[in-house]
Subunit: 438 residues, 2 copies
């Protein structure tokens, strides 16, 4: 069961809403990013499939309820609350931007409308699931953009924050445009292409490097990628070249990739292996790839690990999940937060994507362009099958291609993607700010 | 099943070892950190319990094996290899440093000795599981050290890289000395104290802030922590104070913590609530805590989220898992890697911790001080129950207290913890370097 996979305060608030007679009030919470991290001109949304899965399966089992019953924080909670948890199901609505959509700060990624307890409990899970995959998909898109058609492969599971993060990071990286992943379980679960080479231990397990290369070639045939830096990269390249075909090519994993790739290319070409390819891995990110591409390094594929799997230069996003509307017996109350630097905007919203700007409007308004937030779960049921990972990846590629070129650069653009508020939304913000006499 | 939770190349190498008749060769792999991240003078080991769990349950189910069979990379693999996977069990040995032990670069955290396939496949999982929890435990220890006795509470699940990373991060943070976590599942699974307050949505769900505070007090009694910054922090403090007891105190979540904590302290004291406590949360890390402590901010508890849950200034560690010995029908071969900046040392090792230094020796040598690597799994069976999370936390506190004070500072010390190699180890390194004619 996944009911306890949340912050304790979501559950104590749930008990509080229950006790104060608020369980039937309908609340809407919206998810958005407060600001873009440094050097990001967009965030590529991902993780929705995991949120849907979570909401459809949100339950509390007896053992978990007993655990809560034993905590001081629930000492005063009535038995009826625990009965309520026992029967808990998510019965509300989820509106969401499809995975693979670039967004900027202040735009709603999703909205959950449900009885207040059902909308409150998912906060922690939803914040983590969307922000993590979004950060990785974004990082992947940056690497892929910079590699201009050369393959970028996600190699970072070993650096991911738990092995499970490796699986979901691989998923997000694929949505962001990576050609595949080394993570086998991601291949099994999501149908993502899996790729791999061999490790230094393979080379060391044989009495000579040549023997290790020969055996790998025998076992993997055309899929063999020889790792040539265990002892000496150029010597390794010569040994690999001496064996001829079959084989995919070689992998560089240390040293100066620019000069080594040139020398290794010459060795392979000299041996008549013009089809043999060169992969580089080790401390790569979008900036290193850009340098190597600028300098014309003959590298055919980039294996990106640590920096991608942890989104190392922006390992956390400023995601928020804020109540924007409360519906008490048919009377709507708009809610917002006006604390310093941490404001949130009232009312349920829609994003209309036009050719050169987004307009954030109130839900229900008519607008031009594509309405990005779509009904995904209604009354606790999935409206239709979610787009596949392949669909999300295609959507990402198409949407990113339509972004102005300066927003696809690696540094923060002087002029970001423009987002306007509709007149109705501006009026609601003004009214709410006035009315909120705390 | 968890067999596919690894990089594809571990499995293609497994097939290769199988086909080349190496399945019975005994290999030993050692785990260590290449270097300490910036501003770290030690890394506090954590994550071993998850590694043990993984090894004892490592299996491949039929569906997973069928998936592998369908991949191009296994096109040439013999049917006997898939039969082998079907019966796969980890039958080897694990030697490991107990959780809660501070280590430095180049020291073995664990060693796996097993038939080469069984030692190879765990690489990816083990690298991720240990490095992640170690990075969080270390970050927590830094925050706790700096808070000098004030409580540090882990609040970061929403920023963790997947909700599961939130659970295991909470575990690691507790080992590192945090007083508790907001993660309910971590409480349920590991018995860690869980703590929580209320969110802005709670305050916004009521028609007035005072009403929200009154209701929270009614529901939570002495456990009530009033969040006072939804509209105006000082006004919020006055409203909370006007309600008197019972209650834990208040939480600041935005603004200038130094001045606000002083003003709020005065408001609480003025209302006769000298026992009421002040918690601060929002963009805290060990550096901010140090500033607030230096300035004498009257803050009783620090809720640390983003920076702790992602180890944001060091989101990845340079962990390696390298083959150090190979035993082919009783003949030992020592293995090492001498590539640029990425060397590894041959031979199975032990760490002897003396009062003011560590000596890394060959396994089997006698040494002074505590031998840190202990037999944990032998022939596929757990030797004895692992220490509890509480035990690991206690070990961490005791070990850190014994470190020289300058190594507990937040910046890199001029002189790190000294690590020496024993004479026997130095001789082995020299011999291996000479003999390794690739």
């Amino acid at each position: 069961m996944n009911g306890l996979l949340t912050d304790l305060y979501e559950l104590t608030m749930a008990a509080g809403y229950f006790e104060t007679g608020k369980a039937d009030e309908q609340a809407t919470f919206e998810y958005s990013f407060r600001r873009l991290p440094a050097n990001r001109n967009f965030l590529l949304s991902a993780g929705l499939a995991q949120v849907v899965d979570y909401l459809l399966n949100l339950r509390f089992c007896g053992e978990e309820i007993d655990y809560l019953r034993g905590l001081t924080q629930f000492r005063r909670a009535p038995e009826a609350f625990f009965d309520y948890l026992h029967c808990f199901r998510f019965t509300g609505d989820l509106f969401a931007v499809p995975e693979g959509t670039p967004l900027v700060a202040g735009e709603p990624v999703l909205a959950i409308r449900a009885p207040i307890i059902e909308a409150q409990i998912p906060e922690t899970y939803v914040l983590s699931a969307i922000a993590f995959q979004t950060s990785i998909a974004t990082k992947a898109a940056r690497c892929v953009e910079t590699a201009r058609g050369r393959a970028v492969i996600e190699f970072g599971t070993r650096r991911a924050h738990t092995p499970e993060a490796g699986v979901l990071g691989a998923r997000a990286a694929y949505i962001g445009g990576c050609a595949g992943t080394s993570n086998t379980l991601a291949g099994f679960r999501f149908g993502i292409p899996v790729m791999g080479t061999a490790a230094h231990s393979w080379v060391m397990a044989f009495t000579s490097e040549t023997e290790a290369f020969r055996q790998l070639q025998r076992v993997l045939g055309e899929a063999a990628v020889q790792l040539i830096d265990t002892y000496d990269t150029l010597e390794g390249a010569r040994r690999a070249a001496s064996l001829g075909k079959p084989g995919w090519g070689v992998r560089l994993d240390s040293g100066d990739f620019l000069s080594l790739s040139r020398e290794v290319r010459a060795i392979l070409d000299g041996a008549g292996l013009r089809d043999a390819r060169i992969m580089a891995s080790g401390d790569l990110d979008e900036y290193r790839i850009r340098e190597l591409m600028r300098d014309g390094a003959p590298i055919d594929a980039f294996g990106v690990g640590t920096q991608l799997a942890t989104s190392a230069d922006a390992p956390a996003l400023s995601a928020i999940y804020k109540m924007v509307e409360l519906d008490i017996q048919g009377i709507k109350r708009y809610t917002a937060k006006f604390s310093e630097d941490k404001a949130s905007l009232p009312g349920v919203k829609q994003i209309f994507r036009e050719a050169e700007r987004d307009v954030v409007a109130r839900a229900g308004e008519c607008g031009r362009g594509e309405a990005l937030l779509r009904p995904t779960i209604l009354r606790g049921r999935l409206v239709e099958d979610l787009p596949s990972v392949e669909d999300a990846r295609r959507r990402a590629a198409e949407s990113l291609a339509q972004l102005p070129a300066h927003l696809r650069e690696l540094e923060t653009a002087e002029r970001g993607w423009p987002v306007f508020h509709s007149r109705e939304l501006r009026e609601l913000i003004g009214r709410t700010r006035q009315n909120l006499t705390p």
